[in-house]
Each structure stands twice: as C-alpha cells, then as structure tokens.
C-alpha cells in the first residue's frame, strides 16, 4: 500500500465541492466543443469536400489524413489507459492505485472520441449502423477495419465492466455521503450488492486484468490497429512487423501522458497532494521516459532499415519521412522529454510537477503528429508512384483541425462531469489492503 495518509473522505472532495474554476473549465470546453460541432455540421451539409483530403493517384492528395490519424491516437490513449490500469491491478503496483480509475475513465472517454472520429471520417455516417451490421458475418472474415471495430467494442465492454465492478465497492461504502440527487444512479450501479461479492469481484477484476494484459499485444494496439495499415501490400511506409510494437509504445506513452495531465489537474483543483503524491508522479514520469525510449528506438529501427539499402519505394518514403519538418519537430519533442526524464533520474532535484506536465503535453503533441504523419505520408509514397501527382500534398483544413480541439474538449467535459458523479480515486487506494476487513467494517458502520 502506498504511504499516503489520505482519508476515504478525501476522495469525495470533487463531488462535494464545485468551485468557480470548474465552471470556467466547463464553459471553455463547451464553447470549443460547440464551435467544432458547428464545423462538423457544415461538413455534413457540404460533404467531405470541406476537408483538405483528396484522392491519391492522379488526384494528387491523400484520402486518409488527420481524422484517421487522430482516430488511432485516441484509440492508442484508450488502449494504453486500460493496459496501465490492468497492470496496476495485476502486478499490485499500489503506488499507482490512485490513478487506476483515472486510467480506466480515460479509456472510456478516449474510446468514445475514437468512435466519434469514425463517424466524422466516413462520407456516409447515416449508413454506418445498417451497412456494417448487415454485412458483418462476411466482412469480419476479411476487413481489418471490421476487426478493429470488433476489438474496440470488445474492449469498451471489458473496460466498462471493470469500472462498474470496482465502482460498486466504493459506492456501497460511501453512498451515504454522496449527493442525494444521484441516488437512482447509485442504486442502479449497486443493484443486488452483497458483501459476499467483494472477494469474487476482486478475483474477477484480476482475471479481467490478466485478459487485457495478455490480449493487448495480440489484439489491441500491438495487433489489430496496426494491421489496418501493415497488411496492405502497396504502401511501403506502413509495412513491416515493427508497426505492432511501435503502435503499442505510442499507445502507452500517450496514455501515461494523459493520466499525468488529468491527475495533475485533479491535484491542483482539489488540493490532493496527499492523494496524488509527488512520489507517484515521479514514477509515472519514469514510465513515460521508458516508453518514449522504446518509441525512439523503434523509430530508429525503421529509419535505418528504410534508408540504408532499402527497396526503392521504401527508401523514397523513408527519406521523405526524415526530412519532413513536422516529423523532426515530433522527434525533437520526444528527445526533450527523454532528456528531462534522464536528468531527473540522475538528479532528483530536476524533477518538478510542472516539468512533468510539460513533458506530458510534449509527448501527446509528438504522438499525435507522428500518427497523422504516419497515415498521410504512408499514402503519399505508394509503391505505384508513376503519377506526377504522387506524392500528393496535404495539410488539414480548419474543419479538420477543429476536430482535435473539439474532441479534446468533449473528453474534458466527460471528466468534468464524471468527477461530480463518482469517486475518481478508488477507495482501495486510500484504505490499506492489510486491514482491509476491519476497515470495511468501519466504513459500513459509519
């Protein structure tokens, strides 16, 4: 158990107190989200012509761009989040227990944003449900996109189950202190609860965590998502077995960065120095560094094999990639993060919360840029490059760029709302495992 001296009551602070800061944050986020929703409405009206996408080939553009890049970025955050929380539960990494639920909530929020991106990306969102369901038994045999949707849905269900199970425990014990107006919701969440289930649930959660960890490299960001690209024979930039590990490290980096940002905000807003401790942030920063290092290493692998004596199409792509200013910028961000993480490991005084926060933003910007570049540069340098219009050119339009701000705002709103409804730090994190039973008795009596 972590050495935090927080009381169970502390985790209810956000539910009980709502400051002006909350309203400002909500207002700003809602305003941005509304602007984007209007832009999206415009896109629905005009068609995808309001993006800067175009046909590859004689068309001189790329047909997938920021929307797909942002889609895999959000999916990455989600998958990284759930892996993080599963690891905490499976390996008993109690130091990070206070952020386990944040990671799970992030998974739910990010998966929803990824889902929104699917809708935003398609030319005929009105047909999504009917067309996909009608043909599902056939397409699931051949279309990597359908595998994606299947797996994402599976993980959404797993995460939601996970979250619901662990929430029951907390809500039963804290319900009497939580707001009356949510009573029906709490009643629904805790329906049929008996004390006997605690142990069973703990075991179920453990097995779910095991399932997630085992399946992650196979099915999630290490498998199905990169296969969306890596299985196509004609885009050298996307091919290769390195895509799986590369996607997975990006997912973990982005998720840890996301968790740091959210926890930082929570700590700042609710004076949670004793719940979300410096010690925990140090640890998260170190993990961020580790995955950034792996990411850099995998990028190097790709670059070296792509420029040394690669086949023509691959080397064309690789040279283009390493000379793209945005790519250089993204790699510089990651390099700065690495430098900081190393420095703070060597000299503890270098560490500061603000620096870790900045590093997290850099990581998120770096991974988003990398993802978007991955998508459209891969398309810009196909094997069949005879066309004069290939490589095409692309820079996201305003409507596209707004979607990033819009989805980030929606995700923020999701968190702003959820902190008011359920405890975002689980009770287990503030009570000791050892005196678990006594404590529990106390709680219920209280």
């Amino acid at each position: 158990m972590s050495a935090i001296d927080a009381e169970p009551d502390d985790i209810l602070t956000p539910i009980k107190n709502t400051s002006w800061r909350w309203f400002i944050a909500f207002g700003v986020a809602a305003a941005i989200a509304l602007v984007w929703l209007a832009a999206w409405g415009y896109q629905l009206q005009e068609g995808l012509v309001v993006t800067n996408l175009a046909d590859w080939g004689s068309g001189g553009g790329v047909t997938w761009g920021l929307y797909i890049g942002a889609f895999i970025w959000w999916v990455g955050i989600a998958h990284g989040g759930i892996i993080l929380s599963a690891a905490v539960r499976l390996f008993g990494m109690t130091r990070y227990q206070p952020v386990a639920r944040v990671a799970e909530l992030l998974t739910i929020g990010a998966l929803s944003m990824a889902g929104i991106y699917i809708v935003v990306h398609t030319g005929r969102p009105d047909r999504l449900v009917t067309s996909v369901i009608e043909s599902y038994p056939w397409t699931v045999q051949s279309s990597p996109l359908v595998w994606d949707v299947t797996v994402i849905t599976l993980y959404f269900v797993m995460t939601a189950t996970y979250l619901a199970l662990t929430l029951r425990y907390d809500i039963v014990r804290l319900r009497h202190k939580m707001p009356k107006y949510f009573a029906p919701l709490y009643a629904a969440l805790t329906v049929g609860y008996t004390k006997k289930e605690d142990q069973i649930i703990e075991r179920m959660v453990w097995w779910l965590a095991l399932g997630i960890i085992v399946l992650a490299p196979l099915l999630l960001h290490g498998g199905v998502i990169p296969w969306l690209f890596a299985l196509l024979p004609s885009m050298p930039g996307w091919q290769g077995a390195v895509q799986g590990p590369s996607f997975l490290t990006i997912a973990l980096m982005s998720a840890i960065a996301g968790v740091i940002i959210i926890s930082y905000s929570l700590r700042w807003a609710y004076d949670w120095e004793h719940v979300l401790t410096d010690n925990m942030f140090r640890g998260l920063t170190a993990w961020l560094g580790l995955f950034s290092l792996l990411f850099t290493w995998l990028q190097l692998q790709q670059i070296i094999t792509g420029v040394f004596a690669a086949p023509k199409d691959l080397s064309k792509f690789s040279f283009a990639k390493i000379t793209t200013p945005e790519y250089i910028a993204a790699m510089t961000f990651i390099a700065i993060v690495l430098a900081y993480v190393f420095a703070q490991a060597v000299d503890k005084r270098v560490f500061s919360l603000n620096r870790s926060l900045a590093a997290s933003f850099l990581v998120l910007m770096g991974t988003l840029t990398e993802k978007v570049l991955f998508v459209f540069e891969g398309l810009e340098y196909p094997t069949f490059s005879l066309y004069h219009a290939v490589p095409g050119h692309y820079f996201p339009s305003t409507v596209e760029l707004l979607s990033v701000a819009g989805t980030a705002s929606l995700c923020t709103i999701f968190f702003l709302v959820i902190v008011k409804v359920v405890p975002v730090v689980e009770l287990h994190a503030v009570e000791s495992h050892d005196d678990h039973d006594d404590h529990e008795g106390e709680e219920v009596r209280a």
């Binding site: 012509v49 051949s142 990597p144 004609s234 023509k312 196909p382 066309y387 004069h388």
Partner: protein, 532 residues
C-alpha cells in the same frame, strides 16, 4: 454415389472420414448427436449417414445433386407423408439466402408443417434433428466458403471459379497504338457523368528513365481477380461480381470510409467529396428504387435465383432495357455511373452494358468505343476466359493476333504469313475475322506492325498478387519512370483540350487536388468559375 462406393474407391479420403470421427468437433460431439437421435423415433443411422455425407459435400467429394438424390426418398419414407416431405420444402427455400447457420435456421423455421401446430423444437426432432442439423450447418458453411451463393446485398470478394463464372471481363490495351488523344477519357466521362477530376479512365505520358522515350499509360481500374479493395471494405459495398469478375461498388451501402482507395495499389478510385457535378435526374435510369428493382421478377433460371442475373424477357430485364438504364446492374444494385455524395467511385467496366440492358451491346465499354472512333483501337475489351472464336473474344483474339505479328526471330524465319492466314491455327476450322470488330482490310493491313522481336506484354504490379485483368502490350514502366509533368508539355493534348467533347457540366481536369483544395478561397465552385 453412395458412401460405400466411395470408401471402396482409391480416391484419397477426406480427413474427416479417415479420422475416427467425421465431425470437426470430434468424437464426443458425434456420440452426443447419435444419443440424441436415438431418442427420437427416427432412424439414427440415417441421420448420421446424412451428416457424414454433408461433410463430404463440404469437401467437394460429392455434388449437391448427389446429396439430394441420395436422401430425398429416405427422408420421405422416414418422416411420413403427412408431415410434408422436408426436402420438397427445402427445395422451395431460397438457398441463396442461406449464408450462415442463422439464416438456415430461419429458413427451416419457415417450413410450414401442414398446419400442425408443432413447436420448432419438435419439428427439428422430426427432421432427424441432430443429423440433419449437423449436416446442414456444415452445408451452410460450405455455401459460405464457396461464396457462390450469397445472400442479397452481400456479395463476394472473388470471381467464381473458371467453370462456374460466365465471363471474366478484362481488357487488352495496346500501348503501342495509344497516341494520348484522351478520347477514351472523354468517352468515359460522357458515359458515366463523373465529376470534375474523377478521371476513371486516366491516360498519361511518362518518360522512360533510361532512354528518355515517351510512352503512354492507359489506366482504368484493373478489375483485379484478387482485389484488395474488395477484401478490406468494411461493409462489402466494394465487391467482386461472382458471375463475371467485375469489381463494383454498391452505392447504396458504401459508407465512404475510403479504405478501398487506401488498399488499391493502382490509385484508380475517386471519392465523391462533394455534390456530384451531374445531377441524378440527368442520368438515364429506371425510375424505381433499388429495392423495387430487386423485387422485380428476374426470370426463373438458376442464375436468376442466385440473384445475379436478370434473364432476357424477365420483368426486370424488360424494365431496365426499356429505360435504357445505366445505373443499375442486373441484380438491381445501384453500381453503375457516377456515385452519389460521400460514396466511392471508380471505373466500373460498364456493368449495365455487360448485363445487356442498355442500347449499347454487351461486351463493349464506352472508352473502347471512343478509342475505336478515333481509329486508334488501342483498347480491346472482352472476356479474358474466352477462347478465340467464342463470343466476346475481342481481347484475347487481339492479343493472339499481335503475338503472331510479333514472332520471335526464329519463328519469324519459319512462319509463312501468307499460308498461316490470320496468324494462328485452330484445329478443325479456320477462324474467321469478325466483321463487327475488324474490317477485312484491317486484317490484311494490320495496324502498327512490329518488325521487332517478341511482343512485350505486362500487367501492372503483378507481383502484388492482385491478379489484374488488364493486359498491356508495350514496355512496362520501370521503377524510376515518371509521368511527364502535364503542365510542361504542349505537344500532346491536355485534359482541357477534350472539354469540347463533354456533354455534361463537368470541367475536365487532370489534378483533382487543385480543384478540391479548400483553402480560404471558399468552396471549390468559386475557384472553378474564376478559372473557367
């Protein structure tokens, strides 16, 4: 054919048979089935036998007809006349709709047991429950794997096998004859009403890196027999028509995800980013919804039941022909002419023509007609499965002829062109030149004779395993070859130059991105009017 006969034969047995258990789920499962059957009043042996043979049906060891013939009487005897012979009913069940176990179950549910109010459960028992079930689940899987009978709206990704399919449409394009006049591009736009820059047929000059020689590449969709675009489509809107290998998009179900475009190695797809330039009302088509067209009677041959054909004389065919329809194919799918907003389009190889309900004959495509009109005849559309002398042999015939006009140096010395007639020999008959395609004079003064060595042909990116159905005559572009910058050449026609031949309000453009670019300047129409 019965099981006994086959087990005596020397033919390699199916693994299910050599195994102790015939069922893929193993002996235990099989025993359970038998136990269940034993409980019913019906013949367990018969049930198990049927199941076993159903597996063999899956393995292709016996045919469907044999399976029916073998069991029809048995089943009738076993399940008594007043229960309505199951197989007669099954005959009525549309097997096209039987794609997976689920729909099979549903079909079985539809079987009316002569007014008896029997629960589904007891009905199943009466059918020799487990045995038949086992067999039919296998049968259904078989259907599914073979992809030869597909439920409506969900088509396959590969053409049928050579024996089953009707055609394999493709082209032989003689690049040596192409002079880059772009008539085919105009022909395609006129036929399909595609929007600005969506050049389904795209012709461009490229320079040989080594020799600096200028060549043309004529690039429609390759209608790949192993099309990656069809495989990846998440809704199977992009599909391969089993009967003739055409790779089409169902404009009604496409969700516009553009994965097909990403997966296609050739860059032949053009998405409908905004409103189409040509309104639907201006296209020629049967004024019914796709659902209504699909409802229409399509004749009662087997093909009609498989849902992919509309027999001549059938209601659907008549209606489509009367309307000179150019947006539906024979299945009643909206898959021809330009796509609607938000949907993927590309060269279709004119399916409404190939289904024979337009004024233009089957076996022709608009780009070829346009090319022929200029007298160049570089495009030769036809059935690539055809033998010379068959219908629609234009492509293979042309290729053969060109090969014979390009004998290898040794062959050249041996052959006597006078004696060999048209350059090939066929057993038992002398092939005749076909007036509909070639004039007699053409044959005697063949166009573009080559005095060089062997004919060089290629398919684009064949190594990728896409099995393209366009065969090019000419030299394959090398890896360093590049399209000549269209803006720098004025000795060949540019895309603007064919504008006068276009019947639609469509601006002919080469680079579509320039047209689409959605900068501060506002919607593309504005840019357009400035330029026009």
């Amino acid at each position: 054919m019965s099981t006994d006969e086959s087990s005596e034969s020397d033919e390699p047995r199916h693994p299910y048979e050599t195994d102790e258990s015939f069922h893929p789920m193993g002996k235990e499962w099989e025993d359970e089935m038998r136990a269940e059957l034993e409980e019913t009043e019906y013949d367990a042996d018969l049930g198990m036998q049927m199941a076993r043979d159903a597996q063999r049906l899956v393995a292709g060891e016996i045919s469907e007809e044999e399976f029916y013939a073998e069991y029809h009487d048995d089943v009738e005897d076993e399940f008594e006349a007043d229960e309505r012979p199951i197989f007669d009913d099954l005959d009525g069940v549309d097997l096209d709709e039987v794609g997976d176990d689920q729909s099979m179950l549903e079909s079985l549910q539809d079987v009316d047991l002569s007014g008896d109010d029997v629960s589904r459960r007891s009905m199943m028992k009466k059918m020799g429950a487990a045995g038949l079930f086992l067999g039919y689940s296998a049968y259904a899987t078989h259907e599914n794997e073979q992809d030869d009978e597909i439920p409506e709206q969900v088509s396959g990704v590969r053409p049928q096998g050579e024996d089953e399919r009707e055609h394999r449409w493709g082209m032989v394009i003689d690049l040596d004859r192409c002079d880059g006049c772009l008539s085919c591009v105009a022909g395609c736009i006129n036929e399909n009403g595609t929007s600005t820059g969506a050049n389904w047929m795209y012709v461009f000059a490229y320079e040989d890196d080594q020799s600096g020689q200028r060549n043309f590449l004529v690039r429609p969709c390759q209608h790949c027999s192993n099309a990656p675009c069809a495989k990846v489509c998440p809704v199977r809107a992009r599909h391969t028509r089993e009967k003739d290998g055409l790779v089409l998009t169902n404009y009604e179900t496409c969700i516009g995800c553009r994965y097909c475009q990403v997966a296609c190695p050739y860059g032949v797809n053009y998405f409908q980013w905004g409103e189409p330039d040509v309104e639907m009302g201006r296209l020629e088509f049967l004024d019914e919804t796709p659902a209504e067209v699909q409802e229409m009677d399509a004749g009662d041959g087997f093909e009609a039941r498989a849902g992919t054909y509309a027999e001549e004389g059938s209601d659907r065919h008549e209606a489509l022909s009367e309307a000179n329809d150019h947006v539906y194919d024979a299945r009643g799918w909206w898959a021809d002419s330009r796509p609607p907003t938000g949907v993927m389009g590309k060269c279709t190889m004119c399916p409404s023509r190939q289904d024979g309900h337009t004024d233009n004959p089957k076996g022709t495509v608009a780009c070829m007609n346009a090319c022929d009109e200029t007298g160049m005849s570089a495009i030769h559309f036809g059935d690539m499965d055809a033998e010379i002398g068959d219908d629609y042999d234009r492509g293979v015939r042309y290729l053969e002829r060109r090969k014979n006009l390009n004998p290898s140096p040794t062959e050249k010395n041996e052959a006597d062109p006078e004696e060999d007639g048209f350059g090939w020999e066929e057993e038992g008959s002398t092939p005749q030149p076909r007036d509909d395609i070639y004039t007699q004079e053409d044959w005697e003064n063949p166009p573009a004779p080559h005095d060089t060595s062997q004919l060089s042909t290629f398919k684009l990116l064949e190594d990728l395993g896409t099995e393209p159905n366009i065969t090019y005559i000419g030299n394959e572009p090398g890896p360093d070859d590049e399209q000549v910058d269209p803006s720098t050449v004025d000795d060949i026609p540019g895309y603007e130059d064919i504008q006068r031949d276009i019947q639609w309000p469509v601006t002919v453009k080469d680079n579509r991105k320039h047209h689409l670019d959605y900068g501060a300047g506002g919607p593309p129409e504005d840019t357009e009017s400035e330029e026009a």
